[in-house]
């Protein structure tokens, strides 16, 4: 009987199973069990499995200029293996020591590609040496130490020297004209249409029996524009007290609320109408920009105010507010020093105080000679800038046309 050399069907399927899946079992086993012995996986230092990356070169360290001390700038040329090859650098470690040959400690790290680091933990007048360690996935290399460097405190920021000199000149001019204005009467100030219209706006609201809404911007009291806006509020509040018009000041900062209350209260007191003042004339809505805009839009639509003052620092809500107030027929007097929002106010409002006019408003409305004098001092600053621009343009033109080598005046204003 011919022996049939065939496997039992069950044995055949077992063999097939083993053949197909054995490699996967082996692979899984090597991964699971082999992983336990993988270098560095249990917190041990990595064992080098490849050559180290090329070390960073030309490490230099120097005191950061014009600062209060305690900081050294470290720079280097990156490793040749940074961004390329199998030994790709994964990060740089910055090492520091007071001894050139030993005692280096890691004080920080940077991502690959970086070539500088600010050491803000240095002590003044202590000599430090720096090394940079380039790390790849499994190896590292260190640069040579830098030359010694120490941090020191500077008593003047020379990068701002031109600003300092300019500030001195403009500040002196402002002081001079303030002093001069005390003895001089009738200082000329050009008419500002937006401020001339304040009386009309308050009068209109009184005649119509509708409210005046004053919005001092969306920023806090640390903004000069908010202070300027609040200053204008003082003048407007005095007028509303005299005209017996209804004033409402919704604000979006608590500190602004407190300040505006004080200002309005004092204005009503000075106008002899303290009885007409009520704390609820100035109230807080929300710190949130668009929440504030939504609340004001609703207020405009419900109350239909006769006049809306938008005076202070505004952002994207500027046009939303101005257009809504316009849609209810309110006379609008806006003022801001935000160059990006000025076109919106100019397009949507009846009057706009452009930039410096916002800051001049208080002096203009009060007619106080001392305040008007400060505006005249400001004009000296404008004259300086105008002359510098003219001379700079002439110099650059001559350099370009005649090939001269006159100085580039832009450098004078680099610290500003």
């Amino acid at each position: 009987m011919k022996k049939i050399n065939r496997l039992h069907p069950t044995s055949k399927s077992k063999l097939l199973f083993v053949t197909l899946f054995l490699p996967f079992f082996l692979l899984w086993g090597s991964f699971v069990f082999g992983a336990e012995e993988a270098p560095g996986s249990a917190g041990e230092p990595p064992i080098a499995t490849q050559a180290p990356p090329a070390p960073p070169t030309n490490v230099s360290a120097k005191d950061i200029p014009n600062d209060k001390g305690g900081a050294i700038s470290v720079s280097w040329e990156k490793s040749a293996d940074d961004g390329a090859s199998a030994k790709n650098v994964t990060k740089y470690e910055i090492l520091r020591s007071t001894n050139k040959d030993e005692g280096y400690e890691v004080i920080g790290n940077t991502s690959p590609g970086a070539t500088s680091f600010s050491d803000n933990s240095a002590n003044n007048k202590v000599l430090y040496f720096y090394k940079i360690r380039a790390l790849s996935s499994s190896n590292s290399s260190e640069s040579l130490p830098s030359a010694p460097a120490f941090a020191k405190r500077q008593w003047f920021d020379f990068s701002r020297l031109s600003l300092f000199i300019l500030s001195l000149i403009i500040g002196s001019a402002i002081f001079y004209f303030i002093e001069k204005a005390k003895s001089e009467k009738g200082l000329f100030i050009r008419k500002i249409a937006g401020l001339e219209a304040v009386d009309d706006a308050v009068g209109r609201a009184t005649e119509m029996g509708r409210k005046i809404i004053f919005i001092p911007g969306i920023m806090d009291m640390d903004s000069m524009q908010t202070i300027a806006g609040v200053t204008i509020l003082g003048r407007v509040a005095k007028l509303t007290a005299e005209y017996e018009a209804k004033l409402e000041v919704p604000v979006c900062r608590s500190l602004v609320m407190v300040t505006c209350r004080e200002v309005v209260k004092e204005a009503y007191l000075n106008a002899g109408r303290s009885d007409a003042y009520n704390d609820d004339m100035v109230y807080y809505i929300t710190d949130d920009q668009f929440g504030y805009a939504a609340a004001l839009d609703g207020l405009f639509l419900r109350e239909k105010p006769a006049a809306v003052f938008l005076q202070g620092q505004f952002y994207a809500e500027a046009l939303i507010l101005a257009e809504t107030a316009n849609s209810v027929g309110a006379i609008q007097i806006a003022g801001t020093a935000m160059p990006t929002q000025l076109p919106f106010f100019v397009a949507a409002c009846d009057y706009t105080l452009i930039g410096e006019e916002l800051f001049a408003a208080s002096a203009y409305l009060s007619k106080d000679p001392k305040l008007l004098g400060s505006l005249k001092g400001q004009d000296v600053g404008k004259l300086i800038f105008l002359l510098a621009i003219l001379i700079g343009v002439v110099f650059l033109t001559l350099n370009s046309v005649l090939g001269l080598n006159l100085p580039d005046l832009r450098g004078l204003f680099s610290g500003i």
């Binding site: 014009n66 600062d67 209060k68 405190r153 003047f156 920021d157 701002r160 500030s167 403009i170 500040g171 402002i174 000069m224 202070i227 609040v230 003082g234 003048r235 900062r253 608590s254 500190l255 609320m257 300040t259 004080e262 200002v263 004092e266 204005a267 609820d280 109230y283 807080y284 710190d287 920009q289 668009f290 929440g291 939504a294 994207a316 046009l319 939303i320 101005a322 257009e323 160059p339 919106f344 100019v346 397009a347 949507a348 452009i354 930039g355 410096e356 006019e357 916002l358 800051f359 001049a360 208080s362 106080d368 305040l371 400060s374 505006l375 001092g377 400001q378 600053g381 404008k382 800038f385």
Partner: protein, 215 residues
């Protein structure tokens, strides 16, 4: 004294901030004053919140005009603060998965985006009014806007593709942005900077007192 003390404090802080700008070691004081401002602001927020609740509660109690809006404000306030304070499950209230985060992402965020989106319509309506050729200046504005808007879209260059490179609408738009617009904006910014200096000096010298309720 009620006036003098704030004026003296303003002068001291103002002068210190100016000095710190030029003399680096004074930056420590500058940082200190800035921290104080943030601390005062943090406390002041309670004044704002209390005022918000008081104004709206009064409105409800006295059934003043538009009193139902007061209900929305008070409910909205507690709806967002109570989950933030009490129901964050030991995590920061801002962490994903907290009730506050859910309310923020699903109510506050879309509402805020909706308000921002209104700008598109308001820009159109404001432009319509601003660009009416009522006088010489407005006509120039209209022409500049026309060139700029067409120059910023592909059709602008397509319409003028028969012109040599450098004279097309796109180039004209770039020229308007780089020269007349930049020059005008710089002039405004110089004026603003000088205005800030002048105002700051008036405040520091105590000449400007309206912001603290003075004449």
């Amino acid at each position: 004294m009620r006036r003098e003390v704030p004026l003296i404090l303003t002068a001291i802080v103002g002068i210190t901030m100016i000095i710190a700008h030029f003399i680096p070691p004074f930056n420590i004081l500058k940082g200190l004053f800035e921290d104080w401002f943030f601390i005062i602001t943090a406390f002041a927020i309670y004044l704002g919140v209390l005022n918000l609740i008081k104004i709206n509660a009064d409105k409800l109690y006295k059934k003043q005009k538009d009193w139902p809006f007061g209900i929305v404000v008070i409910l909205g306030f507690f709806l967002i603060t109570i989950p933030g304070i009490f129901f964050s499950g030991g995590r920061s209230f801002q962490d994903p998965g907290t009730p506050f985060y859910y309310l923020y992402m699903n109510i506050y965020y879309p509402l805020s985006a909706t308000m921002f989106a209104l700008l598109a319509f308001f820009v159109a309506s404001a432009s319509y009014r601003a660009f009416r050729a009522r006088n010489v200046e407005a006509t120039m504005l209209l022409l500049a806007a026309f060139v700029l808007m067409l120059g910023r879209v592909p059709i602008g260059d397509w319409i003028t593709s028969w012109l040599p490179e450098g004279y097309r609408l796109g180039n004209a738009a770039d020229w308007i942005m780089n020269f007349p617009m930049t020059a005008g904006q710089k002039a405004i910014m110089i004026g603003i900077a000088l205005g800030v200096v002048s105002s700051a000096l008036r405040v520091i010298l105590g000449l400007e007192r309206t912001y603290m309720g003075g004449e």
